[in-house]
């Protein structure tokens, strides 16, 4: 499953950190794995894998990529 970051809400230090780790607007990523209860999720972006809790991603808008 492939997706792209459309928009990231400004003014959040946690989201700033995610951007510094490469999750910037326009970045495409692949959902690698999903934990048994749907949270956390492992995504692959910029050649590395990042594990995220859903709560940490509040404020990120994404769209599916075919």
């Amino acid at each position: 499953m492939k997706a792209r970051v459309v928009k990231i809400a400004p003014d959040s230090p946690k989201l700033k950190r995610l951007q510094e780790m490469g999750l910037t607007e326009g970045t495409e990523f692949v959902v690698n794995k999903v934990a048994p209860f749907g949270d956390p999720v492992e995504i692959k972006l910029r050649g590395y894998r990042l594990c995220l809790r859903k709560a940490e991603t509040v404020g990120i808008e994404i769209e599916a990529v075919e």
């Binding site: 400004p10 950190r17 951007q19 490469g22 910037t24 607007e25 970045t27 048994p36 910029r46 050649g47």
Partner: protein, 462 residues
């Protein structure tokens, strides 16, 4: 200002700081450079404090400092702060590092180069050390080190951590760069309007005596930075210039994330230029990927988890039993050995005493599980330890009776001398059941029990 001899001496030794992304191999590199044994592990966040060590390159003495990993120069946690302070020359005895060695994980180039781009603007002489190229080769990819060095404008040395390959080249590069530092590229492709405004503001700030790095000014222009604003609060014309530039950028519609996004565009461009992938379709899965696939699988992962928990449980309750029995036997053996050397106490006495302790412990457990004291008496008899003579008696309280059913000591002796007179009629026919189960002869038992202090006597249950 007179410097103390110690600081003067320290200042003459160049300081090299090893920085880089978490889990890039900084501590491994530090250990191979300095011969230290700092803890390394294959996950981010192992190093949480700065550690220093000494390094000799020919005749040159260099002090080397290892810091926690950083994703960017804006620290969010306290261990990151440690590293940022060291880089800015505030953390380590207020000494500015004379050289930064930035460790770059070749298998994760884009994210690592983002940090390099921030360091490059921090104005320090810089060397890039490329690690984990072996992982890259596993993915059938290659990296063009000369090209990377040209694009970054600094020396790039490939080091394969544990094998120590490339360490000598790195030492040479450190020596070379300490003498004649190379200045890294500062062309990251920021929008021109942002660059001109930032440069103009920086010029004005430096004339007013403020020394801010260009990256700080850039971020402050894109999104309001309270710390930055507070520092220029007292000079209204600076504040006005800042606010005007900030507003203009907002009118242009430049998003606050421009600073980070531009750096990542640059690092993606560099990574694309230097990595030669052989054939994307033939990508092999590494061993770590295969293990991960099973351990983090939705179903198999849980099976493995419960399997491990089951084994843990078994190892505590079942597998440990022979071991515990062995220990008991060992202690008994030691008890016998020691006891036979202690005047007056025969081995049997010591052993019997040990058993008495054990059984008292057992009976305490029985009381904990609330077993009827009458039952316990029956058990004691049923086990034929002391026979009917030894029916426990004691205080009327139930609990105490269970916990410490006393044996009437003289009754044992009496029993030995006198056959049957003191036996209650109910048990009269069971003389032969006495004194068999303890593993001692009646004579031994009698001797042993007479030496056991009354407090230590308990129900003998096997």
């Amino acid at each position: 200002m007179g410097k103390s001899p110690a600081t003067a001496k320290a200042a003459s030794i160049p300081l090299v700081a090893i920085v880089g992304n978490p889990n890039a191999g900084k501590t491994t590199l530090f250990n191979s450079l300095t011969g230290s044994h700092q803890k390394v592990a294959n996950y981010p966040g192992v190093t949480v404090e700065k550690v220093s060590g000494n390094l000799k390159i020919g005749k040159l003495q260099v002090e080397c400092i290892d810091v926690p990993g950083l994703y960017s120069l804006s620290a969010v946690s306290s261990d990151e702060e440690v590293a940022v302070e060291v880089i800015h020359g505030r953390g380590y005895g207020a000494r500015e590092p004379d050289l930064l060695v930035c460790v770059v994980n070749a298998a994760n180039l884009e994210r690592n180069l983002f940090f390099v781009s921030q360091l490059a603007e921090a104005r320090y002489p810089l060397i890039v050390v490329l690690t984990m190229t072996d992982l890259l080769h596993l993915r059938d990819e290659n990296i063009d080190i000369t090209k990377l060095s040209n694009l970054l404008g600094v020396d790039v040395v490939e080091v394969v951590g544990q094998k120590g390959a490339g360490i000598q080249e790195l030492k040479d590069a450190i020596e070379r760069n300490l003498e004649s530092p190379k200045h890294p590229t500062k062309e990251f492709g920021f929008p021109i309007s942002l660059e001109t405004k930032a440069a103009a503001l920086r010029e004005r700030l430096s004339r007013a005596g403020f020394d801010y790095p260009i990256s700080t000014i850039r971020t402050a222009l894109l999104e309001r930075n309270t710390e930055f604003e507070a520092s220029i609060q007292d000079t209204p014309e600076l504040k006005n210039a800042y606010e005007q530039a900030h507003l203009e950028l907002q009118e242009e519609g430049m998003p606050a994330s421009t600073e980070v996004a531009t750096r990542y565009q640059w690092s993606a461009m560099v990574a694309k230029a230097v990595i030669e992938a052989a054939d994307k379709k033939r990508r092999r899965r590494t061993r770590s990927d295969k293990i991960d696939y099973i351990l983090t699988h939705r179903v198999f992962g849980l099976i493995v988890f419960f399997g491990v928990m089951y084994l843990t449980f078994q190892s505590i309750y079942t597998f440990a039993r022979p071991l515990m029995n062995g220990m008991t036997a060992g202690f008994n053996w030691i008890g016998n050995l020691v006891g036979s050397h202690l005047g007056g106490h025969s081995g049997a006495a010591v052993a019997a005493r040990g058993r008495a302790h054990q059984r008292r412990w057992d009976s305490a457990h029985l009381s904990a599980s609330n077993i009827d004291p009458i039952l316990l008496h029956c058990r004691a008899r049923g086990n034929r330890l002391f026979g009917p003579r030894c029916v426990p008696h004691g205080p009327a309280s139930r609990l105490v009776r269970v916990e410490r059913p006393r044996i009437h000591s003289s009754s044992v002796e009496l029993r030995m001398r006198d056959t049957g007179n003191h036996v209650r009629p109910r048990y009269a026919g069971r003389k032969e059941q006495t004194c068999h189960d303890s593993g001692c002869s009646p004579h031994e038992l009698q001797r042993a029990s007479s030496r056991i202090p009354p407090a230590d006597r308990g129900v003998y249950r096997t």
